[in-house]
Structure formats: structure tokens, C-alpha cells
Subunit: 445 residues, 2 copies
Amino acid sequence: MQPFELTASEASALIAKRELSCEELARSTLDHIARTEPDVRAFTYVDADQVVRNARELDKTPPKSPLHGLTFGVKDMIETADMPTTYNSPIYFGHQAGKDAACVGTVRARGALILGKTDTVEFATGGRRAATRNPYNFAHTPGGSSSGSGAAVSAKMVQLAFGTQTGGSHIRPAAFNGIYGIKPTHGVVSREGAKNYSHTLDTIGWYGRSVADLQLVAREFRLYGIDDAPVTPLKGLKVGLCRGPNWHLTEASGRAALMTAAARLADQGAEIVDLDLPPDFDHITHAQEVVMRGEGRAAFLPDYLANHTLLHQDFRDLVENAKGYTAEDMVQAYDLAASCRRQFDGLFGGTLDVVLTPPCIGQAPIGYYDTGNPAFNSMWTLLHVPCVAIPVGLGDMGLPVGIQVIGPRFSDARLLSIAAACAPAIHAPAKLAPVDAAMAEAVAA
Amino acid sequence: MQPFELTASEASALIAKRELSCEELARSTLDHIARTEPDVRAFTYVDADQVVRNARELDKTPPKSPLHGLTFGVKDMIETADMPTTYNSPIYFGHQAGKDAACVGTVRARGALILGKTDTVEFATGGRRAATRNPYNFAHTPGGSSSGSGAAVSAKMVQLAFGTQTGGSHIRPAAFNGIYGIKPTHGVVSREGAKNYSHTLDTIGWYGRSVADLQLVAREFRLYGIDDAPVTPLKGLKVGLCRGPNWHLTEASGRAALMTAAARLADQGAEIVDLDLPPDFDHITHAQEVVMRGEGRAAFLPDYLANHTLLHQDFRDLVENAKGYTAEDMVQAYDLAASCRRQFDGLFGGTLDVVLTPPCIGQAPIGYYDTGNPAFNSMWTLLHVPCVAIPVGLGDMGLPVGIQVIGPRFSDARLLSIAAACAPAIHAPAKLAPVDAAMAEAVAA
């Protein structure tokens, strides 16, 4: 096994024991990137000399934290002091930020090695797509908008990577690329220095190749309760199987992933119960769109005024309020969201430990323009709840399918501990058997 | 009258008619700043040559908007592409941002002339104070944290200026400096590029020397309904006189301002009714503190890790959660805020047009360390509602006192139109008579 193949947790242990140097890990990773990047196209910027220099500096000091020397990709929506940040917008080609975004500054202060910037959909939402391809099949999208970060972690070009989610930009690429990802509770990680789209929705997340990898990073962000989250046993775990208001959009592979995960958890002693969301949740996907577009109208106004011809029509439509949402629509959407947040948290009063639900409708679409449907993400983003993506296996096209687990607001630490218990039971890198309706009923019974 | 003495609206009309050049206005303003700045200390950065060069460029083109050539101060919490941004933190001395903050980029695209950066309390909240002095009495604070912006507009060193409000940083300095200010509905103006403290609270606002000046800027930010807000007659205007849960903290001059304003509005035919807020509002000031400190804990983590010794103890306390607020406290605070937002909006269903309430407890304190009590601001910031500060007159120390008017979320355009109607009735630059309890009762009866 070469160093680049190590998960973050594995490499961290070796670096702590001085059995692996930061430079060895960096060079192994850079060599792998050189071989892989022409096919995967995950990065917009990698300066190999800079990476090696920084790795050598890290080798001069004792490990600053368990992140010391670990390789990070940074979505090109997120500013870095020593690399350009373009948001995949022609307005910002060559743009150099004056300081690191908060998330980058935090892990860098703890010794992380920033490998490079990863490709994104323009401003993380529309317009130009990333050039990135799905490592499982280069003809398919890796999902978006955190396209490069998802593919880079999947292809072992980095161990960890930052993404962002406003609709479904973080959890969906995790599923499409067969990796682990967390979108934490809104606001517990500062999103300063990521290009703004919607202040109510924009959330920084990260990817890894195990739940332990996600926990490594979560500890450095000091998420509430992260240092004393108990190990969660699967036996007796109360799992709410949530098809949700958009279940009719799922594909067979997506349904198979959810039902297989539920069956595997039930095999290990978890109690699977059907979870029907209250009626208000039927309107929450629309409310997310109203909030996103309303706040996006303000966010892109300066680009619209100063660089009109370079701004993609998708964003001109936003600023011009092409959908005609009113101030009253905004207030209704905010108030519905607040009500649903309370209702969702209220589900967790003893009868439920975690929600199990699809992270996307199925396997990654073919091509690079359609980055997938956010129908299984946008409502959770608006609800501000933590979501963890876990791979389940492969669909009929040989592309990854997965699930996500969700907890109430601020339960990130416990959710990660539940995910750590669930993942070994759920995840097997093999094609799933189709799940027919009868089996689905049996599982849910 | 010299050009620097013109309000924004007056100068805009002259520039549109080519009766005043941008360069004339700039030079007159720079001369005035040179005379005034040693006493007021409003600015952290002014490059006179740069300002004149930019003004000449503006004179080469037809007016881009009614903001063309108008002079703007920018609180040094807000990034500018061509000037340093320090947040009054030694960590960021000499810091150069890579692009303009969204608010600066918007007005610059519309022809505004950025005069310079104005002093602020460290990171707009604690630690180091601004060097700025109150133009009405140099021994007194101009308030904070938008200290320099408030004083600069008051001292006619700029016509307009941006501030920010997380607790009471924008409306309170407006009152202390005898100027007009708006804190718009949270989120209707992008706060990208202002240093983050609390994403739920941080709000960009602006100052001017008339309500018309505030409206000039509001139009360029395309606030909902701003282009067709009708003129509001005072006769029959239903004004809710709101002492609020912190009334016991007011000083005599603050009470006199509120009661005088109410009496003057009543004289013009407005209907003044006592407004008691529902019981939940008794807890909203505390909820604001919980949200601010909880979100601030995440915001200052990277500075804490990377620049620990340069970070003021106030911010170390935040990151270390010195007050011990829990995740449960955060959820309760968020949910209380959401409930109060709905309850407050519900007050405006036909029986009420606008809320009249103090912007601060009284006149500006003596000295520069105590920048004033935010007790009459922080709850409104958490409620996300638009607030407009209007000066009333002078207190017993000869320092300004004022009021603020408040409307439901997203009613910024109508609130400005109400403020435009109220201001000429309310504002007279003379010492107020003391208001005793009997008069207060009479006004409210």
C-alpha cells in the first residue's frame, strides 16, 4: 500500500508515530494525482512545488493535531491565501483572496496540508459546470456542485476535502462518488470566505473515506459534544426509515440502497420504523427554493452590476427575480422553515435515534451537464440539520449508491457516532440486488 | 455653502445637472477632512490622491446612477479591493482583501466615490475601541462599533457611510451622532465581505444626513418595493409607542426624546397607541446574546488557533465558550427568535403602521471605552426587522438624542417612506425640554 492510499485516520496514526513523513505522503499523493488527474479532472489548481515545500515545513515541527500532514482538497468556492479562487466564474479567473476562508484557516492552523483547489459548478449552483468526471465511470458526472472535492476523495487524490451545500451540493456528490461526507448543523462551522449564495442555507461540509476521517475533522472544529460522544451500539438503535415527500422521484438503484441499508441495520439489531413527516414538510422543498433564490438575488447583485456580460444568465435571472418571488413569499418560507425545524427536532424524543433517507435519487447521471437532482437534500439544508452520507454499494450501472443519516440540530457529534456504528454494517463495495416493493414493505414492517 | 456640506440627495441633483463635478465634491470633502480629522479621528485610511483620481474618472462618464460621485465612508469591518481592511485587529494590520465586499461593490458599480475606511471597535464587538470622538463633544464616544462611520457622516466628512450591526452597532451610533441610519431587514443586503461574527445577526446598514439620503442607497440595493413605495401621510398614521422590556434602563434624555417625538407626531395627526410586546419578548435580549456568542465561537476559531496571542481576551472567551452556553441553549434561542419574528409581524395587521421606540438609553457616554448600551438594539437585530434611526434634538449635555422607527420584516421601503414623513415633524436641532411622567402618560393616553 502506498501512502496516498491511506485513509486520513490511518495516515494520522503513522504521522503521529513518525513512521510516515508529511513529505512522503505529499509526494506519493502528487505522483498519484499526476497519473489520475487527466482522467478525473478534479483540480483547478495544484502547485506541486508549493505542496512539497509546505509538507517539509510541517515535518520540522511536532504534529500540531491529528490533522498534521493530512492532504486536503478545497472546493474552488472557498478562499485560500496562497492559491487563486475562481468560483468557476470568468469574472474571477486569477482572483487572489487576501486570506484563508475560516474552514481552511482552521485546519491549516492544525497542520493540514492543502493540496489544491477542486473544480465546482459556477458559484456552486448553476451556469458553468465542473470539468470533473466520476472516478467510477468517466462518462458520468461526479455530481455537483462539489464535483472536484467528491471525485478527488473518491479517487484517493486527497484524503479529505471541503465542499459546500446550499441545495444538495455536498451530500449528493458523496453518494455519487461512493465516499463519506458530513454537512454539519448550519452555522457550527463558519462559512466566512466561501462565496455567498444564501446565508440561511450555505453550509461548509467535508468528505473522507471513513466516518473516522469525518470525525477527525469534526474534532478540530470543536463541534458541540464531539470530545465525549459515546460509541453507539446498533442493537436497539431506533432508525426512522424516511422516504420523504420526494420518494416518487427515486430510481430503482436509489430505492435498493435505502432498503438494503435498512435490512442490513435490522440484521444487526436496529429497530427500523417507518417515519412519515408531518404535512408541513410537503412544502419545505419549495420553501428552500424561495429562500435560496430570494437571498441569491441580493448575493449576486454586485457581480450583476459590475460584470454583467461575464455573469451567466442563470445568475442574471436570480438578480432580476425571474420567478417573481415576493417579500411575502420570503416571510412565509422563513416561517415554515422555522416551524419544520422545531417539528423535526421534536421527533427525536425517545422514539427515534436517527433518520435514514436517500441522499439522491439514484446513480450519477451520464454526462457532465446534469449533476443530479437535489430533491433529497434541499429540504434538509433548509432545516439546518446535520446529515452524514454513507455509501452502501453499487447500482446496476456499477456506480455507487448510498444513504444519508440525519439527526436533530446540533447533534453532529452523536450523529457521527451513530454513523460510525452503521457504516460497517451498511457498506459493502458490491452490486446490490434489486429491491422490489414486497421486500421494501417487509423491511418497513 | 461648500460642496462637502451638501447632503447626498442635494449633491446628487447637482451632479446630475453637471452643476457640480465629482472632483469638486471630492476636493472640498478632502479639505474638510484635513481640517476635521485631527479632532474627530473617524478614518483609519484615506488616500487623497487616490480619491481625486477616482473622482476624475467618474467625471469622464455620464452619471451611472443617483449615487454617482457621492462620498462614502466604509467601516473598516468591510473589505475593499483598493484599501487595507484591518477590523481594528492587530492580526490584520495591513491586510489587503482581494475584492470589494458586496455592499461596496454594489455602490461602486453605481458610481459612488469611496472616500476611505472608518474606525471600528475590534471585529465590531469588543476588545480594542475606535479612536473616534463624538463630533458634538470630543470628550464623548460616538458610539460603537460603527464609530468612525457615524462620526464621519455627522461631521460632514462623508455624505454616506456603511456600518454593521450584530448587537447595536449601527443604530446606536446614528442616535449618538445626530444622524439618520437604516439597519435593513436581515439578508436583503448581502453581507459578504464584512468580517463574520454571527450569521443570524450580522447586518449591513448605512448612514446619511436625511431620510432621502437613505432612500437613495436603498434604491440601488433594490430593496423590495423601493421603486413604488407611496408617500405616507402622517394624519392617521398608527404609531405604536413601544417602551419595550428594557425601558427601566433609559436615561431622562432618552425618555424625553421618545416622548417628544410621540407628541410631535400626535400634533401632526398621527395616532399614538401604547404597544406592549407579548411575554416572549422579555427573553429575546438574552436569546440574542446566546446566538451571538454561540455563532461567534465558530467565527473566531481560526483567528484563535492561528493568532492566539494577538487575539483580544474578549474573543478568546468567545471561542472557549466562557459563558458555557450549550447546544440546547442555541436551539431554544433560535426557536424563540423565530416565534417572536412571527408574533411581531402579526402586530401589523391593520391596527399598527409603525413602531416608535428608543435607539439607545440616552446621550453618548463620556470617554471612549464605553460605547453605549445595546439594550435597545439587540432584540431588533435578532428579529431581523428593519430599523430607521431619526434624530430628535439635543439632550441636557448638548449631545444628540433620537428615536428609531421599526416595521415588520421586508417592509424597508414602506418604513423609509414613513420615516420620511415623520422626520420633518420630529427633528429639531435644539435642546429638548425634560419630559416628566405626567406628560408621558398624557402622550400615550
